[in-house]
Amino acid sequence: MGADGFADVPWRSQLSFRSHYLPRSRSGWIAVLSFVGLMALVQPPIVFWVDTHVGSVWVLGMPFLYIYLGTVYFALIGVLVWAARRAV
């Protein structure tokens, strides 16, 4: 620790930080890419394509779109729980 309470790490001397928008670990990349990929499935244009082409199908007595969206939402939550368990 430095005198001001910050850890002594290399960035302090150069004031230039590696971007925090990009993950720095394998688990981080897996979590981000999985989440973004799944989120794309419930956003336009994919969700509208699903509605147009598979909208008339029924699954378990409910409309396909309803089941499809719900399934992807639970998968997204699964990614977040996976990330939390691995402390990403």
Partner: protein, 505 residues
């Protein structure tokens, strides 16, 4: 006993429970500002979980979502996208806000932004934007409370009287017990609303249709237009879909009543698990809402105010005791958000305006009393707005979220270190342009080209912020090293141990 007496009596009984909790919280509270405003930064997972979900879900979710399914169909199931996004934002952004709040003793969102951008103008603008747009949220809850009590009593208690009564109760226990009272009541309200909405929807589905699957069949046979995109009135266009996803995730998280909750957590790990698991509660609450709205469109097709579909169905088709319990749950949903917004706005105005510019260095008890006065003022404004202007609950909340969304570039600039940080001029210019574009794309040319005003405004905001930041003075090296350094150290360095050590040294 007449059914309206039973239903209204149960709602009033629930209100009594919240008053008792507020009283108990008052006995446990000290006149310490951090305790009154931030629960002493000691909120554990269970309490924080229930207060976040109860605050996030309001009259909007309990009444407005049923109304939106009723009017616009299955497209409103996109609600899952913004609830899951909210979890991800909490996981990534919330934990940074928590760490910075603990490290530098921030109490309001404006504290954090003003410190990084070294600007009192940023503090004032952030405070004003936060308060202005969340006042709309107060209106939403007040309207919802009025609907509930007037429907439960069969209009024997007027909308105006119901609104006034319930606002006074929420304001009363907040003034008595501060954030502790809000959190304690939110725990009860969070559980109650979840059980109530599921129980109500399932009972109605069985009584009216013979079960949820039979309900879906009837909707497919009689109103197939409700089961496809973009819905009967063409509302859910791709642009609106994306716009609502963004406005109701980022826009709600950036409102002070949610951001302040991040500061109150006992640890960063608590925030991460909060982000990972709150979407389960938030998203699944819309499953029964779909049954209510879509089933209601079959049973009561000509309702003048779609937001009233749930209480109307209950009053007509459910036993009085169940109606009372469920409407108490709806009251819980509205009150838990109302008290949180009142508390957040009180905190912002007390801390960022009064304590900073009007009366510095007073005793903590003085600020606690000023905060109570501010709550009273906000209640009056909220009440006047709720009885004089009407809007669909979902529309009002989306507008509120779109306004708060303008704080996104500035907040990201603090919490996410980059090679080229944003500047105070960039952030202020971005907010100004963003709000102007929001006005144009909501009022002058509503949702131009089918794209939600939230998207237009945040795109303009980011573009302006990045451009102006490229040519204006960045925060000082010392500030960047101090704040971005703390983020870097917390996220990729020594973590919570390092944070605790820094606080001790």
């Amino acid at each position: 006993m007449e059914s309206w007496v039973v239903a209204t009596g149960l709602v009033l009984l629930y209100i009594l429970v919240t008053i008792v909790l507020g009283f108990l919280a008052n006995r446990a509270m000290s006149l310490d500002l951090e305790d009154f405003l931030l629960y002493g930064r000691k909120a554990g997972f269970v309490v924080l979980y229930l207060t976040v979900v109860a605050t996030y879900h309001s009259a909007f979710a309990f009444l407005g979502s049923g109304g939106f399914f009723y009017r616009h169909g299955i497209g409103f199931w996109e609600a899952g996208t913004w609830t899951v996004l909210t979890g991800a934002i909490t996981y990534t952004l919330g934990v940074r806000i928590w760490a910075l709040g603990k490290r530098f003793s921030y109490i309001t969102p404006a504290d954090m932004l003003a410190d990084f951008y070294e600007s009192e103008a940023v503090r004032v603008v952030v405070a004003l934007v936060s308060v202005f747009f969340t006042i709309l949220y107060i209106q939403v809850q007040a309207q919802g409370l009025g609907y509930i009590i007037s429907v439960a009593s069969g209009d024997r208690i007027s909308f105006e009287m119901g609104t006034l009564l319930l606002m006074i109760v929420a304001g009363g226990y907040l003034m008595a017990g501060g954030l502790r009272a809000v959190y304690w009541t939110d725990v009860v309200q969070g559980v109650w609303m979840y059980v109530a909405v599921w129980a109500g929807a399932l009972v109605l589905a069985h009584r009216l249709f013979g079960g949820p699957l039979a309900l879906w069949k009837r909707v497919a046979a009689e109103r197939p237009d409700l089961l496809s995109l973009p819905g009967p009135e063409g509302f859910f266009t791709p642009g609106m879909w994306i716009g609502m996803s963004v406005a109701l995730s980022f826009g709600i998280v950036l409102q002070p009543h949610i951001m302040i909750r991040y500061y109150t957590a006992v640890s960063g790990r608590t925030i991460k698990w909060l982000g990972a698991t709150t979407p389960i509660f938030l998203m699944t609450l819309y499953i029964p809402a779909a049954l209510v709205g879509l089933g209601g469109a079959i049973v009561l097709p000509d309702l003048a105010i779609p937001d009233q579909i749930f209480p109307e169905l209950l009053v007509r088709y459910a036993p009085a005791w169940l109606t009372g319990l469920i409407l108490a749950g709806a009251t819980a949903a509205a009150m838990s958000t109302l008290d949180s917004i009142l508390h957040a706005n009180m905190t912002v105005l007390t801390r960022d305006v009064y304590q900073r510019y009007i009366a510095r260095d007073r005793e903590p008890a003085h600020y606690v009393w000023v905060g109570r006065g501010i709550v009273l003022g906000l209640l009056v404004i909220g009440y006047i707005l709720s009885v004089r202007t009407f809007g669909f609950l979902v529309t009002l909340v989306t507008l509120s979220g779109a306004g708060a969304l303008q704080l996104l570039p500035g907040t990201l600039g603090v919490c996410y270190p980059t090679r080229r940080p944003f500047t105070r001029s960039g952030v202020l210019a971005g907010i100004g342009v963003g709000l102007a574009v929001l006005y144009v794309t909501l009022v002058t040319v509503p949702h131009a080209l089918g794209i939600h005003g939230a998207i237009w405004s945040i795109a303009a905001n980011f573009t302006t912020c990045i451009t102006v930041s490229a040519f204006t003075k960045a925060p000082s090296d010392e500030t960047i090293a101090r704040i971005h350094g703390a983020v870097e150290d917390y996220v990729y360095g020594s973590g919570e141990e390092g944070l605790e050590e820094a606080l001790r040294s």
